[in-house]
Amino acid sequence: MNIIVCIKQVPETTEVRINPETNTLIREGVKSIINPFDMYAIEESVRLKERFGGKITIVTMGPPQADAALREAISMGADEGVLVCDRAFAGSDTWATSYTLAGAIKKIGTFDLVICGKQASDGDTAQVGPGIATHLNIPQVTYVKKVEEATDKSMRVERMLEEGFEIIETPLPALLTVVKEINEPRIPSLKGLLRAKSSKITMWGQKELGLDPQKIGLCGSPTQVVKIFTPPQRVGGQILKGEIPEIAAQIVELVRSEVN
């Protein structure tokens, strides 16, 4: 089973600070890591390779330092890394990013499965995975929490929903986005780390991919960021005490005062 895993390098912090003037993330002094959700995607690809054999190619779009993220994925058991890197891709929104990544996947050629994390911890959009599937014109199954069965032609997976789960069978090739319930990412091995250190990373830019210039980078991105703000914190509610009829009376009183 040939698998492509799309990953993103993100700042390691759960409290991303935003520059209020430029509305962009403050990245200075923050260590970069693989998006935590993508770690589950990498782990699942390695587990599928252990079950069915095949090859794992990791793809990321980002600046040259995203090379480190690809090597980390290789240390966990992936075979190759492709860094999609070009100034022409800068400023891409989720649509342009998914178009560009789909272009890289097409250039890699044959594959049975594409796996993405459900969303990135910095942008939180959960749009790139589904976007790639759309651009590749393949089926997509989002929020996968378990791969039940797979053959070379199809795969049966469990999707996690807010209330319960759903079992879906999809023909291959397909794209999955995975949730953290699917597995526990492994710690790399020393042999894997040594292999990752000496691996050659393929770098592709616009010249190699030859994408439609109107669909990449800032000009290929229809998303307009109008304003970024931190939602106001919810203030604590009010607890009503007493017997049920008393509480009911209090509620009526509260509603009345709100209406007036």
């Binding site: 020393l190 042999k191 040594l194």
Partner: protein, 384 residues
């Protein structure tokens, strides 16, 4: 201090650090209480190839390198001295095969030990033979193509959980120390059973049991080196493994120091952080200096071994003795900084004191280490 480790060594240190923080530390208290063998953590350590650090590449390891082994042991011990010793004791049990095994023995035993599929243990200590190792009573009698083992080993780390044992037994009692030989014994061999599991003060995640040999018949080809080489095998093994015990002590001391410094910063008394008091700062400064001195000794000794230095008994003894004495002092001082809270099991620091104590005792008590150092000094003085 920058010890100018190679990129590969930094990689090993970072990997062991990651395992220590993500897998060892969260499990430390659980295994300290349950005294169960931490198989789930050992599996992670095995899958990360760290068991390969004391085994040659041609037998599936990462190459024998004492510095690398010390780096891994120090990092694991920072988080839990007990889990770390399960790992380090496998190195101890494996060294006799690495150093003295023939091709057939190495091929048979080392690959599974390198992958961590099996762990090893070393058996010399007996109830009547602790520091006086030459007093061992376990015998190995040759009968045709077999040796018949009889006797009792005790306080054997990894005993019962290890699959591969290197055991010292007397093949010729009349020859005293020169009548001892080393053997490989597999778990499951008829006549080889285990006694009670010890209820220990510290390093409780590790297992310590008796090995009981009752007419235990092992193939003659399981003899390591030659008959009569038992104590040479032991001494050479300890020369290689002592830096590992030193690294274990160093890791425990480092771990305790870090916890104490962190606690001192958080703890408020007299309206301010206790870390602002000179009395606390001086304690931390002394602890840190001693830990650094121990580290310098451990890694210079490890590097000397890796560089092929011939006689390392003295340096190896110094590293083990000094690092374990530092560990004892630093952990006790760290507990002092935690005050009354430190004395309670709700806080992790009292475990460091308990885990540190054994490093002054096993693989040669610190008094025996001083004998080794002293004897060599006296000998050298006689030469001039």
């Amino acid at each position: 201090m920058d010890y100018l480790f190679t990129d590969e060594q930094k990689m090993i240190k970072e990997l062991a650090h990651k395992i220590a923080e993500e897998k060892v530390r969260p499990a430390a208290a659980k295994y300290d209480i349950s005294e169960e063998y931490p198989w789930d953590v050992i599996k992670v350590i095995a899958e990360s190839d760290l068991f390969g650090l004391f085994i040659p590449e041609e037998y599936g390891g990462m190459g024998v390198n004492i510095t690398n082994l010390c780096l891994a042991t120090e990092e694991l011990s920072r988080a839990c001295g007990g889990i770390a010793v399960c790992y380090a004791a496998s190195a101890l049990g494996t060294f006799p095969i690495v150093l003295f095994g023939n091709e057939e023995q190495k091929k048979k035993y080392l690959p599974d030990l390198a992958s961590g599929k099996k762990v090893a243990a070393f058996g010399i200590t007996e109830p009547e033979a602790g520091s006086d190792a030459s007093a061992i009573k376990t015998t190995a009698r040759k009968e045709g193509d077999y040796y018949i083992l009889n006797g009792l080993k005790h306080f054997i780390t990894n005993g019962g959980d290890a699959e591969t044992y290197t055991v010292i037994a007397m093949t010729n009692k009349d020859k005293g120390a020169r009548g001892a030989s080393a053997f490989i014994v597999e778990k499951g061999t008829p006549g080889f059973t285990f006694g009670k599991k010890e209820d220990k003060f510290g390093i409780r995640a590790s297992s310590t049991r008796e090995l009981i040999f009752t007419d235990c018949k092992i193939p003659a080809k399981n003899l390591l080196a030659k008959e009569g080489m038992g104590f040479i095998v032991t001494m050479r093994t300890f020369d290689m493994s002592r830096p590992g015990v030193a690294a274990q002590a160093l890791g425990i001391a480092q771990g305790a120091l870090e916890l104490a410094a962190k606690y001192a910063k958080q703890r408020q008394q007299f309206g301010k952080s206790i870390s602002s008091f000179q009395g606390i700062q001086w304690m931390l400064a002394d602890m840190a200096t001693e830990v650094e001195a121990a580290r310098a000794l451990v890694y210079s000794c490890a590097r000397a071994i890796d560089a092929g230095a011939k006689d390392v008994s003295r340096e190896s003894a110094m590293a083990k003795m000094y690092a374990s004495d530092v560990a004892m002092k630093v952990t006790v001082d760290a507990l002092q900084i935690f005050g009354g809270y430190g004395y309670m099991k709700d806080y992790p620091i009292e475990k460091y004191v308990r885990d540190a104590k054994i490093t002054q005792i096993y693989e040669g008590t610190n008094q025996i280490q001083r004998n080794i150092i002293g004897l060599q000094l006296v000998r050298d003085a006689g030469k001039v």
